[in-house]
């Protein structure tokens, strides 16, 4: 018995699965290109320093790490945004901005494998580099929504937040860093029970407590922004609320507003987000499908300070909720007694754009008919000595 084991959490993709994935990639590429985005590819591994400069240290427990021969620590890329920021800071300093880039790559995380969560998975996404302002965010969110639609998904929601609302509230509270981190973590995980308990034990203003307790459950249209009384007393929070309103209005003009929900509990896990953040969901899958947001400080870590915004979509997860293609493409199987005749006929059909297989085993017509028994996606052509075509 030969060893057939593969490392945990990794997968073979079989022809049907690859067909679904390539079809998603083509649709996305077409859409991204129509918005002026250009594809880039980065190395599969990066230096640990580079990844952590972008994502913060929390991600280390999910990294596949190894050493190079000079003692440098490498890791398989856990996501693409940091790599693209590094790429742009290295190669694009002299080009005009904004720059619009897209990618379709495999990324790696050492997580517990389960349905919709693998250790190697495929992401596609865009980064809009060098543009601040709500129109840039609206463009990225619109493309995120249109990507889902292009792939045939109509029933989905994108939850939108501006994390500066929550962060400025925490800063106003006068709490120390570890308390702030704990609260952020509890809001992110929607652990309302523990959050209530922690807040009860803290010596901060009741108004701030109430607002913190309210944030994870505020969810809906523009009206939820009226339920944030503290924002009037905090300039940064007020600005962030105003920005969220303007993005919401911009998205109305973009034709995707039916998918947009404001959700002040969406914080996103990665450290690099600075402003608007969003996540996309389908009711048919218990896991998020896409995520993104504004990360104005990330490129500065690579010595090229530019605002930026983008999103990434998980192809493996999306494939789970898409309807499988109903009709297989029609194929031809060409066989016959004379090889040259078979080749000529097969080539003639291929030039017309058909998918054509040749019988390479020298089968008789009856043998070929037996092989195709029950396969009505095949059309058999057998070229006999009298050139008879069926």
């Amino acid at each position: 018995m030969k060893n057939r084991e593969i490392p945990k959490g990794l997968r073979d993709l079989l022809p049907e699965e690859v067909a679904v994935q390539r079809s998603m990639e083509q649709k996305a590429a077409h859409l991204f290109t129509s918005y002026g985005y250009r594809e880039v590819v980065t190395p599969t591994c990066e230096f640990l320093d580079v990844v952590e400069a972008g994502t913060g240290g929390d991600i280390r427990k999910e990294l596949f790490m190894f050493m190079d021969r000079d003692g440098g620590i490498l890791c398989l890329r856990p996501e693409m945004t940091v790599s693209i920021a590094r790429l742009a800071a290295t190669h694009m300093q002299d080009e005009g901005f904004p720059q619009r880039l897209y990618y379709m790559c495999n990324v790696f995380r050492h997580v517990q494998p389960q349905r919709a969560q693998y250790r190697e998975f495929w992401q596609l996404g865009i980064e809009l580099l060098g543009a601040s302002g709500v129109w840039a965010d609206a463009e990225v969110i619109t493309i995120a929504a249109k990507t889902m639609r292009a792939m045939g998904l109509d029933d989905f929601k994108i939850s939108l937040n501006q994390i500066a609302i929550f962060n400025s509230l925490l800063n106003d509270s006068g709490l120390g860093e570890s308390d702030q981190n704990q609260i952020r973590h509890l809001v992110e995980r929607k652990d309302l029970v523990e959050l209530a308990r922690v807040l009860e034990g803290l010596d901060i203003k009741d108004a701030i407590k109430e607002s913190i307790a309210l944030m994870p459950v505020l969810h809906g249209g523009l009206e939820v922004l009226n339920r944030l009384p503290f924002a009037e007393h905090n300039r940064q929070a007020a600005e962030a609320v105003g920005e969220l309103e303007r993005i919401y209005q911009a998205l109305q003009a973009c034709g995707v507003i039916e998918h947009i929900v404001l959700d002040l509990g969406v914080l996103r896990g990665l450290d690099y987000y600075t402003g608007v953040v969003f996540e996309g969901y389908s009711p048919d899958l218990g896991y998020g499908l896409l995520g993104g947001g504004r990360y104005d400080n990330l490129m500065g870590h690579f010595g090229f300070d530019r605002p930026a915004t983008g999103f990434a979509l998980g192809l493996d997860r999306l494939a789970l909720v898409l309807d499988q293609p109903k009709e297989l493409p029609r194929r031809f199987l060409v066989g016959g007694a004379d090889f040259a005749t078979v080749v000529a006929e097969a080539d003639r059909l291929r030039e017309q754009g058909c998918m054509v297989e040749m019988d390479v085993e020298g089968c008789s017509k009856e043998q070929l008919q037996a092989k195709l028994h029950g396969r009505n996606d095949y059309h058999l052509i057998y070229l006999g000595e009298d050139q008879e075509v069926n």
Binding site: Q114, K157, R189, V193, V261, D263, S282, P283, G286
Partner: protein
Amino acid sequence: MAGETLTIALSKGNLLKPTTQMFSTVGLPVEGVDEDSRNMVFSFAEPAVKYIMCRPTDVPTYVEQGAADLGIVGKDVIEEQSRDVFELVDLGYGYCRFVVAGPQRMQGIPIKQLNYKRAATKFPIVAERFFRSQGLQVEIIKLHGNIELAPIMGLADIIVDIVSTGRTLRENDLVELVNIMESTTRLICNRVSYRTKHDQIQPLVELMQNTVKRG
């Protein structure tokens, strides 16, 4: 997306009765919901809800994977399963505690003397996390039941277990050494359902919170 059926995973066993009582208080249908019934799924049309009867340890899995939108389960199970779910309401009932317990002679020893001991437990994750947070190296021995037997038979020095009244400990000449954490029943929610079925879930959350507050 409003008006879709809300699926709730219920814990079989002693949480079921207080859960159905609480459900009827907040206006959810409970007619015929009984674990002695042969049914594992109970569907109602108005309001559109579906209950699934689960082993308590399976409830977080059903909810994390989206097979159920909501779940009713003890905090003890949530901790041990460490699933990625939202925890929305402390329902108050089903009180119990995680404790470290040992033979009578260990009563009152300082916690640092638990270092390098062997602990038998049904809850290796909770036990491991607790000892590690205390900077202690304790060998965890996973058992599936009758944990109290382990110190008696010399399989382990101490145990980590759930107690509610403490009677089982006393009957086996064990004493509580450390209270690790307290547990009550929680309403948990799938990450995506919370967003896609928010209009159905949020009112329910508020009703349950109010019920708990009134006691």
